[in-house]
């Protein structure tokens, strides 16, 4: 029986080494992984071309209740507006839902969703292959990242500190993204550089 245990342990070890997680983990303080793609309007987007700007990455899926919480209450749009108003900030919305999965949309649908919600990101990117999501280790919708002007990742995690899907909880929550952007703008280190993202799983 001990032997059997050992066989199982071997299995576990094998499993541990072969099924290494597909998601890369990005580290705060490291260079953000390059993004080179085409946005929903057919325009080329290369992250490294945007050095000098602070970049906010937002993983989204319009059918996810947590995304609905933040768009339905106007919280995400407000955050976006406030971020862009800081100047030298760009907001990139990314959809990593795979073909046939929840949230997967055509470029036309993506634009329709934006205009219906009254959102105006600098660019919206469809990542059905999950390549960008994997490179950033995006887990949830929403999952937020802030990259500074040097291209260094300075924030990764939740949009705010209330992980409920209930729209009523938007009010009174602390917005981590705006806090990080304020720190960046003031030239300070980001006080809360990493939080647990919450939301629906990204539909890879």
């Amino acid at each position: 029986m001990i032997l059997k245990k050992n066989i199982m342990m071997m299995g576990a070890l094998l499993l541990a080494f072969t099924s290494a997680p597909a998601l890369a983990a990005v580290e705060i303080g490291q260079m953000a992984p390059e993004i080179e793609t085409v946005d929903v309007n057919g325009e080329a987007f290369k992250l490294s071309d945007h050095k000098g700007k602070t970049i906010v990455l937002e993983w989204t899926n319009h059918q996810c209740p947590f995304v609905v919480k933040h768009y339905g209450t106007g919280n995400m749009q407000a955050t976006q507006k406030e971020a862009l108003a800081l100047g030298d900030v760009e907001w990139i919305s990314i959809v990593s839902s795979a073909d046939g999965k929840q949230g997967n949309v055509t470029p036309e649908e993506a634009n329709a969703i934006l205009s219906e919600a009254g959102a105006a990101p600098s660019a919206k990117i469809l990542d059905a292959s999950g390549a960008i999501g994997n490179a950033y280790g995006a887990l949830t919708t929403p999952h937020m990242f802030v990259i500074n002007a040097e291209g260094t990742l300075v924030y990764a995690g939740a949009i705010d500190d209330n992980s409920s899907p209930n729209p009523k909880t938007v009010e009174g929550a602390t917005n981590y993204v705006l806090a990080a952007l304020a720190d960046v703008k003031a030239g300070n280190a980001v006080a809360i550089p990493q939080t647990q993202p919450y939301g629906c799983s990204v539909k890879y």
Binding site: I2, T18, P21, A25, N166, V202, Y204
Partner: protein
């Protein structure tokens, strides 16, 4: 009349039972439930309370098939249930008690949560100034339920206590069941550390001795300490249960505690504990060597405690089904002797005790030696070897046949089992002692696990004392019996009834044999097990033949030859090697001989004179860790390519059998066991020097190998 009355009682009881079912089912209906996928009920422990009471209130979730909800730490996505109570004045709820979750993968993510039915518990404190009349409790509950997509469900639920004239409601049995599933809070000295991208937890072995390491699951309460989807690997190392899982996004520096739940199986039952781990003082860089040195292991059980528990455990061993028959008959025979010669009885008692204690110490010494050698073993390691398992199965078969009265054998010690019934001198008693240890070895008794766990992490002499105490405990009843005539008088008189009793006791022996055959089947498969059973028939046949040997002549010789051949065949039928049908790749790894060359001191010295880097692997067939490392980290294409590219000379030393050259090599690197991996960097072109050889970690991955070999 009496019968009718009795029947009536039964029917009433049934009715009460069904009624109680309905009461539970009929508890609190939701006032307003939007939720369709998660049905929620609030279940107070009982419907009537008095001032100062504390009762459990259960939040029962019945989740639709294929959907799941979340634990306190939801994992990569999701969010736990939230409850907001509206309570009568003065009432207070404690924190939500979450049952142990399970891992719910959604590639490439992983969540911690629940499927099916689950009950969360909260402790409700009733104030001292309890108002009269009905009390209403309302809960706003939001719960996120996901399959692939997620749906938040919101509902308001209520229950009432002390409702006048209401039927009494008692959910306590149901909530007790739920409480069992909530992890037990333990105060073990658990340490955490980060080593080579791995988050490492070290648990004192204590209660965790001899677990199925593949069934151990870790659920971090804190986010980011591990990569949730990555599998964890548990193993026993230097007296610790060590769990490794690739580290998560959180930096552990400055973190003063990591909380989590450990789930494991004890005899098929899922157990869960919730613990708080403190950072280990060992720096991440040094840990590789430091931890694998002679670690000083604290244990919650002191030396005196361990000896005491060992003694008690040994005593209880006497009652184990395989040991009891041997000893009870032995005890009866002792009574017979002492009637005639009390001093002879004492000699027998001492001889028997010596037999037991020495056998225990011998097994313990073997166990410790192997353990030091890196084998993944615990108490009962003898059973790792199918040949020994087979022999033990035969032993129990022979004992059973003997007790059943099929045969009696004369031998230098008297009668084998028989020593059970008759006695021929102290040697016979000594032999019974060995026999008792042999039959006791597969058994474990309460109190033993803790003592053995302690013994195995102590210096050898301390460990041996603990094992000797275990043996003494086993021998104690018999020893006492042999010294105290008053006790002997209490024993039943030997008589004809003993024969019947003896035959009865054959059956536990056969049972033990069946158990051992089953173990062997698990180890080596059904066909090998079939072979053993054929062997058992041959063995029985040989024994029967020996009972019917003609007095003289050619026929006598023929029959003897037949018996001996049957015996030989019986032993031959015991599988000798562990054949891992499931993983031939691992065990064929060394046989191909295409990758790497055989280690010898001369060859090593030769290659060290050259400039090329050298990688030395010390391994053994019985070392599972070695095999796994070889299969997953060394004998893989990436490492082969790396070695080829860097021109690494790869030497393999096999320590399966005693090999003083390898033992000396191990000692040179402060080890007395395998696996050992040493990397000698290539000679520096400018200085002409080789860097100091580096001892690599004992758990390898291709990445770890690359880290060491790729450095310039």
């Amino acid at each position: 009349l009496c019968v009718v009355h009795h029947l009536g009682g039964l029917i009433l009881r049934f009715l009460a039972f069904f009624l109680s079912l309905f009461i539970v089912l009929g508890a609190s209906a939701p006032v307003k439930a939007e939720g369709e996928l998660v049905k929620i009920r609030l279940l107070p422990e009982r419907s009537a309370v008095v001032a100062g009471d504390e009762i459990w209130v259960g939040i029962e979730k019945s989740i639709a098939p294929h959907w799941h909800t979340y634990w306190k730490n939801a994992g990569d996505s999701g969010t736990p249930l939230r409850v907001t109570w509206d309570l009568p004045d003065g009432f207070e709820f404690g924190e939500v008690q979450w049952p142990a979750p399970k891992k719910i993968p959604y590639e490439p993510l992983l969540n911690y949560g629940y499927e099916g039915s689950v009950v969360l518990l909260q402790r409700l404190t009733v104030p001292d100034d309890l108002p009269a009349g009905a009390l209403n409790f309302t809960a706003d509950i939001e719960v996120l339920v996901c399959k692939e997509e997620c749906i938040p469900e919101y509902g308001t639920y209520e229950f009432a206590l002390n409702v006048p004239n209401a039927m009494a409601e008692d959910n306590s049995a149901y909530l007790d069941m739920a409480a069992i599933k909530v992890p037990r809070v333990v105060d073990w000295d658990v340490g955490f550390a980060q080593e080579d991208e791995q988050f490492v937890l070290r648990f004192p072995q204590g209660e965790l001795l001899d677990l199925n390491t593949n069934r151990i699951e870790f659920y971090p309460l804190d986010w980011g300490v591990v990569l949730n989807p990555a599998a964890s690997v548990s193993s026993y190392e230097d007296g610790w249960l060590v769990l490794r899982q690739p580290a998560g996004d959180l930096t552990l520096d400055g973190l003063d505690a990591v909380r989590g739940t450990l789930v494991y199986e004890i005899e098929g039952v899922r157990e869960a504990v919730s613990f708080t781990a403190a950072p280990e003082s060992v720096g991440a860089g040094e840990s590789v060597l430091e931890v694998q040195g002679d670690a000083v292991v604290p244990s919650s059980l002191g030396f005196v405690g361990a000896v005491f528990f060992a003694l008690v455990g040994g005593l209880i061993l006497n009652l184990m089904p395989c040991v009891f028959p041997v000893l009870s008959l032995k005890a009866l025979s002792l009574v017979k002797i002492s009637e005639e010669h009390p001093e002879v009885a004492r000699v027998h008692g001492i001889a028997y005790t010596l037999g037991v204690v020495l056998s225990f110490v011998a097994i313990a010494a073997a166990l410790m030696t192997l353990k030091v050698a890196g084998a993944e073993i615990g108490w009962g390691f003898q059973l790792q070897n199918p040949f020994i398992v087979g022999l033990l199965a035969y032993l129990f078969l022979i004992l059973g046949l003997n007790l059943a009265g099929v045969f009696e054998i004369r031998n230098p010690f008297g009668n084998v089992g028989g020593v059970l019934a008759r006695n021929k001198g102290p040697a016979g008693s000594f032999f019974t002692g060995i026999l008792a240890t042999l039959v006791a070895a597969p058994c474990t008794a309460p109190f033993m696990a803790g003592a053995i766990g302690f013994a195995l992490v102590q210096p050898v002499y301390v460990g041996l004392i603990v094992f000797a105490a275990l043996g003494l405990g086993l021998a104690l009843p018999y020893l006492v019996l042999s010294f105290v005539p008053a006790l002997q008088r209490v024993m039943p008189r030997p008589g004809a009834w003993m024969d019947v009793f003896k035959q009865l006791l054959a059956f536990p022996m056969f049972g033990a044999a069946v158990w051992l055959v089953w173990i062997l089947g698990v180890q080596v498969g059904a066909s090998a097990m079939g072979g053993l059973l054929v062997g058992a028939v041959l063995l029985s046949f040989a024994i029967w033949v020996l009972q019917h040997v003609p007095k003289a002549g050619v026929l006598r010789r023929l029959v003897m030859v037949l018996a001996v051949l049957s015996l030989i065949a019986a032993v031959w039928f015991i599988p000798k090697n562990v054949r891992m049908a499931d993983s031939p790749a691992l065990f064929g790894a060394y046989e191909d001989g295409k990758f790497g060359e055989v280690f010898s001191q001369e060859r090593l010295e030769d290659v060290l004179v050259g400039d090329a880097p050298v990688f030395v692997e010390m391994t053994a067939a019985w070392c599972i860790t070695c095999k796994v490392n070889h299969a997953v980290a060394i004998n893989v294409n990436s490492t082969k390519a790396l070695f080829a590219q860097r021109g690494v000379v790869y030497l393999i030393g096999d320590w399966t059998n005693e090999d003083p050259v390898i033992t000396r090599y191990l000692e040179k690197y402060g080890r007395n066991g395998v696996p050992l991996y040493v990397y000698y960097g290539d000679r520096d072109a400018q200085t002409g020097e080789r860097p100091e050889p580096i001892v690599m970690p004992q758990i390898l991955t291709p990445a770890v190998v690359r880290d060491y070999v790729d450095v310039k």
